[in-house]
């Protein structure tokens, strides 16, 4: 899907000679190259005054560099495989370049540009309310004291064998994790109180400041590090969903284990786990009805992620073989995870699941007028973690299209976090994870233009998440041919 630069060529120049080359691979801060003239290869360690890169008519000029041939070595470094035929790499001597976007976006970033931006970021402090600054600094102090205590324990554990370290960690988790939660939850309560009258713009500014201050605490948590860094370009990727389902103590140090686990013990996280059951219940009811008629149940999961709910749906061999699922997600890696879920189920239950995995984005896919011709119609369509990301105009359009994909008598089930989600401030300030919360009226309103639909709303047990259930009548005016 991503259009990449086909070829980046260039030349390195010394005082009186230029050597033509092709960039074969862009590493984060070095370039793997192959030289054109095979008889006159530069020596290992040879210095060049500049590198000129070229792609089509566009050029970029980079500063002094050195050629290094041969494998990189180091005690903990395994060199990623270089493409066949490469001669070695160019390392830059006066500027720190970042090539991670070279092939994908044609861009060469420089450290000095980031440094020049610092005053712009520093200037943000002026927009922070003094009371919030005090609050953040008190919170930071309390957390660092807590961390210092656990880090001290970890330091002394370095003199113990791994088995002892594991045993002590387990004991400390058993004895102290609850206390840590009480502490953390109290801090969250104070944060919520401190920002309760903020406007949207205030939230944005103060959240930014808050995360800058707490950055190393955030990164100590594998989960919160990921929600902040968003390696796949969006929050809520399939790895995060897996972490929510697995709910482990992950991390090297005791403190990082606590920091990883705490956000997974929130109301929102347990709502995510609980909704799997809701999907399973709906599918079981539908399956029972369809099986009576001797038919398979056709199911569409939109923004499926790792499709963990299938484990709850298919408890027996019969469950599995009576299903036909189409799983849709924008992220190939999420679909790979879903494929793993399916394979595990098939092995355990010794039956095949009729499953189709489709990669595509909801926003562009729903435009396809012939979707039902391509995919057929479904008895159940569900989207659990999708509507939290769609604004009303888009949510309304997506809902309409999904409704069209229902068979007569079919059911659509959509999840959306409620405006009163108690984890909201935690998500926004600590996790940098913003979703579109709705109230009952706003959620209902999305379905207001559907013809003949029977719409109802339920809550999952924590009340932080709503589910809109839309049923298509058996005989419907909107029914297709």
């Amino acid at each position: 899907m991503v259009a990449e630069l086909a070829e980046v060529r260039g030349s390195v120049e010394a005082v009186n000679a230029a050597v033509l080359l092709k960039v074969q691979q862009a590493r984060p801060h070095s370039l793997v190259v192959r030289f054109d003239e095979r008889e006159r290869l530069p020596r290992h360690g040879e210095r060049f005054e500049r590198l000129t890169l070229q792609c089509g008519a566009r050029r970029a000029t980079l500063g002094p560099c050195r050629f290094e041939s041969g494998e990189a070595t180091g005690p903990e470094f395994v060199e990623p495989p270089a493409p066949a035929g490469s001669d070695g790499r160019l390392v830059f001597l006066e500027q720190v370049y970042d090539f991670s976007q070279l092939f994908q976006h044609g861009r060469i970033n420089e450290l000095s540009v980031r440094v020049r931006q610092l005053p712009l970021v520093w200037g943000r402090q002026a927009t922070i309310q003094p009371a919030f600054r005090d609050f953040t600094s008190q919170l930071l102090y309390d957390f660092q004291v807590y961390r210092g205590l656990f880090d001290g324990l970890d330091r002394s554990l370095e003199h113990e064998p791994p088995e002892v370290r594991t045993a002590v960690h387990e004991v400390a988790i058993g004895a102290e994790y609850r206390n840590f939660c009480t502490f953390f939850d109290r801090q969250l309560g104070q944060l919520a109180a401190a920002v309760k009258d903020f406007s949207r713009q205030d939230h944005e500014r103060h959240g930014f400041y808050f995360r800058k201050q707490l950055w190393d605490l955030i990164l100590s948590s594998e989960f919160m590090g990921r929600t902040n860094l968003k390696p796949r370009g969006f929050a809520g990727d399939s790895v995060m969903m897996r972490m929510i389902y697995e709910r482990e103590f992950r991390g090297r140090s005791l403190f990082s284990k606590f920091m990883h686990r705490h956000p997974l013990d929130t109301v929102a996280a347990s709502a995510v786990r609980a909704r799997r059951k809701l999907v399973a219940d709906l599918l079981h009811r539908t399956q029972a009805r369809r099986a009576e008629a001797g038919e398979k149940t056709r199911v569409l999961s939109v923004a499926c992620g790792p499709a963990a709910e299938l484990r709850e749906v298919a408890r027996t061999k019969e469950d599995l073989s009576q299903l036909e699922v189409l799983l849709l997600d924008q992220d190939q890696l999420a679909l790979d995870d879903a494929r793993d879920t399916i394979m595990e189920l098939e092995q355990r239950l010794r039956a095949r699941l009729d499953a189709t995995l489709v990669r595509g984005s909801v926003r562009t896919l729903i435009g396809g007028s012939e979707l039902s011709r391509r995919w057929g119609r479904f008895d159940v369509v569900y989207a659990m973690g999708l509507f939290d990301y769609l604004t009303p105009p888009v949510a309304r359009a997506v809902l309409g299209k999904l409704y069209e994909l229902l068979s007569p008598g079919g059911t659509l089930l959509l999840g959306n976090f409620h405006v009163n989600n108690p984890t909201r401030v935690y998500m926004e300030y600590w996790m940098d994870w913003v979703i579109y919360h709705r109230d009952e009226l706003e959620f209902f309103e999305l379905a207001s233009e559907l013809e003949d639909a029977e719409v109802s709303l339920t809550y999952e047990e924590t009340g932080s998440q709503m589910f809109l259930q839309v049923k298509k009548p058996v005989r419907s005016g909107a029914e297709g041919p």
């Binding site: 970029a60 540009v113 944005e204 562009t364 435009g367 604004t391 009303p392």
Partner: protein, 163 residues
């Protein structure tokens, strides 16, 4: 006062100006404060400019449609313009950009990143995408989009206004 302002304009700069003026007087009529009117005005212009740049208008007379809807304190601005299936790459890029911008609690972070990109050396003459970021950052609006029946692109911004 009517809660919806519906406009149809051709992708030409003088018509953009006409739409801008109408949008501003419509929002003033709804008693929004200067800050909100200015923000929404910028958003209208950016969305129209984007549609003009990337739309697949078959002829200069083919219009795009603009809808500004006021519901309580919320202003929704939506611009619909023609696209062709040849624009798949543009749509995929728009999709990534919208999710990326909305991935930050504070769109200032996306703004910083785009500023960096503008000053970076580049081997591709690609648009900076700064306009979309401005909608989120300066326009204080939530961006979204969808494709209608393969050939119409609807890009929208939701702004929580202030009196």
């Amino acid at each position: 006062m009517d809660p919806v302002l519906q406009l149809s304009i051709r992708p030409q700069w003088d018509e953009l100006e006409h739409a801008r003026v109408q949008a501003v007087s419509f929002l003033r009529g709804h008693q929004f404060g200067e800050a909100s009117v200015n923000a929404a005005e910028m958003v209208v212009c950016e969305l129209i400019e984007n549609a003009t740049k990337y739309g697949s208008f078959r002829e200069a007379a083919e219009p795009m449609s603009i809808a500004i809807t006021v519901q309580g304190a919320t202003v929704t601005i939506e611009v619909r313009s023609p696209v062709s299936s040849a624009d798949d790459e543009h749509l995929a890029r728009l999709d990534r950009a919208v999710q990326w911008i909305r991935g930050f609690q504070n769109p200032f972070e996306a703004y910083l990143e785009r500023l960096r990109e503008v000053s970076a050396q580049s081997l591709e003459s690609r648009e900076s995408g700064l306009g979309l970021v401005r909608i989120a950052y300066e326009g204080q609006s939530i961006l979204d989009f969808f494709l209608i029946d393969q050939n119409v692109l609807a890009v929208s911004a939701v702004h929580r206004g202030q009196a």
